[in-house]
């Protein structure tokens, strides 16, 4: 039984089909990312799967149970972190997580443990309004985990954080699916999806265009690799003459070779002792998005 099962899910707002026939399966213990630009429908999809919104068509099941209408027997088994920091006003970090622990019947000790695990012990007596963006997100995630849920939903946990805070949060997020917990996260950062997720669902205009591991998605792209060689290491004409090279152009960084057999070309460059400043650039999720939608990825 998959942890999450979504079949032909549709959610419309007036004329807008925010979620337009999405099907998705997530296995137990998987870390899955829903990746797409703003307005792609990620949050609506996630909130419909959580059971916050009534689907117009299709079904969503979590742990084998329908999520709509509100299913109180399912709720203790899922943890959610919504896009806004959903806190009780004017409580300290410790009071906050203890309150959430009480709502789920978890102990005070568990609450304090989680405060420690997300590194907020020295902020325990700080009111939530005075926490930094990164600290608030970590507290929010801790509140979602305090009852040890089987399935965890995170809606853009690193949005609006500076790069340093994002990296710090990745360290916390990356271990969350150990011990068999299923994690679904939405993000509009390609690198985040690549770094954290076992599988990525690329979403645009309410539809899921492709699902797979980041590596498989890039492989499936069948895009040529680009090899950049330091200026003067090889001439454009000589480069074009090399076996396996489809195209070579001069750029400010040097000569850029386009090839579908990067290994062969690099070996040849090595033979000729022309490896100075070589950089190999294979496809990324951005290229995958470009090939799926025909337009550049803009978060």
């Amino acid at each position: 039984m998959p942890a999450i099962e979504v079949i032909d899910l549709v959610k419309t707002y007036g004329d807008l089909r925010a979620v337009d026939g999405v099907s998705l399966e997530v296995d137990e213990g998987e870390f899955v990312g829903v990746l797409g630009p703003n307005g792609a429908g990620k949050t609506t999809l996630l909130e419909t799967i959580e059971g916050l919104r009534r689907p117009d068509a299709g079904t969503a099941r979590v742990l084998g149970k329908d999520v709509w209408p509100r299913n109180p027997s399912l709720l203790p088994r899922i943890g959610v972190q919504l896009q806004a920091s959903s806190f009780f006003e004017r409580l300290t970090a410790r009071e906050q997580i203890r309150t959430f622990a009480a709502l789920y019947g978890a102990s005070v000790e568990t609450a304090d443990e989680w405060l420690e695990r997300v590194g907020l012990v020295d902020k325990a007596d700080t009111r939530v309004e005075d926490l930094s963006g990164g600290q608030a997100q970590r507290l929010s995630i801790a509140c979602a985990l305090v009852h040890d849920p089987d399935v965890l939903f995170l809606d853009e946990p690193t949005a609006a954080l500076d790069p340093q805070a994002r990296r710090n949060l990745w360290d916390l997020l990356s271990g969350l699916n150990e011990s068999g917990r299923t994690v679904v996260l939405t993000t509009h950062y390609m690198d985040e999806a690549e770094a954290l997720c076992d599988r990525v669902a690329i979403m645009d205009h309410g539809r899921i265009l492709e699902v797979g591991s980041p590596a498989a998605l890039v492989r499936g792209l069948d895009a040529p690799a680009r090899i950049t060689v330091a200026p003067g290491a090889v001439g454009v004409d000589a480069a074009r003459a090399m076996p396996g090279v489809d195209e070579a152009v001069e750029s400010v960084d040097g000569v850029v070779l386009t090839t579908r057999t990067p290994a062969q070309v690099v070996a040849r460059l090595a033979e000729q002792d022309r490896l100075d400043g070589v950089r190999v650039h294979t496809g990324t999720l951005e290229d995958v998005f470009l090939s799926l939608t025909g337009r550049e990825y803009r978060a």
Binding site: L52, S86, F88, R90, F100, L103
Partner: protein, 356 residues
Amino acid sequence: MSRGTTFWALSAAIMRGFLRDRAAVFFAVLFPLMFLVLFGAIFSDQDQSKVELIAVGDVALVDDLPAPAREAFDDTFEVTESDDLDAALEEVRKGDADVAVEQRGDTLVAHYTQTEQVKAAITQGTLRAFVDGSNVTASGQPPKYAFEAERVEDDSLSTIQFVTPGLLGWAVAMSAAFGAAATLQGWRQSKLLRRLQLSPVSTRTIVGARVAVTVAIALGQMAIFLGLGSGAFGLALTGSWWMAVPMLVVGTLCFMAIGLLAGAIAKTTEGAVNMANFFVLPMAFLSGSFFPLDAAPAWLRTVSDLLPLKHLNEGMLDVMVRGEGPSAALWPIAILAGFAVVVTLLAAKLFRWETT
């Protein structure tokens, strides 16, 4: 997990949030108390101040009054002696004194200004009465008729008796409405409502906790008002004042409903609080929270009958200071409960999860 634990955890969280919100505490407790102190101080001595009288030269009519009459005279007039008529007239003209009196032969002449009409009337009437009295004495005949004045003030409402229930009603209305409006909007904005919807806590427990906190705040307001009123301003509660407790609880529900309505209509937290204010402040004026409506035109009193706060105020006046029995509270409680139900249903109908 027991329902009790979650209820207490939620209540504690909400109560802490309130107590740490300085603005909320100020408007719920200190602000209405300022009015209580103000009204208590302004109106605590409502007796007319004495008429300041300057006796110019020898005013035998006054000086020779028999002792009891002189005592009555001194109750009304604050007498200063002077020998300079012009200076005395100038003082009256400037308003430093109310009347200057001189005796020309057997005639008592009073100089006054019309600026202070009440005092002018008192002066003329009183002086004439004393002259008449002196005439009777001079005739040697015993007076046939007697006059005695008895104050009945103690049986009606002194100012503090009137303002305490009214201001308490206003204070409770304000904090219940603001609290509900701000909570609904704030929790919707921060998605805390959504977050709670995804926790295994029932709606009943969430609403119950919010109501319990607001009722506790209302009872706290009541304790502070009655404590200060009777301790510092001579408030005297009558027999069934305790019926104000259930009335205040139902009133709190009613004004929470009004706050929910404001929170449901408004799009921001500030907007919700302003909207609640828009409902409550005019209602406080029209419901006699600040001054009695006895002098208001009939149509205005009819309008005020349509306002829940009017019934809360009247009901509390009846049982707290007018000495009416417990049953006087039943009708106001029923009306407030009716308002609470209707307004809650309206708020539920207008509520939207999304603010846009």
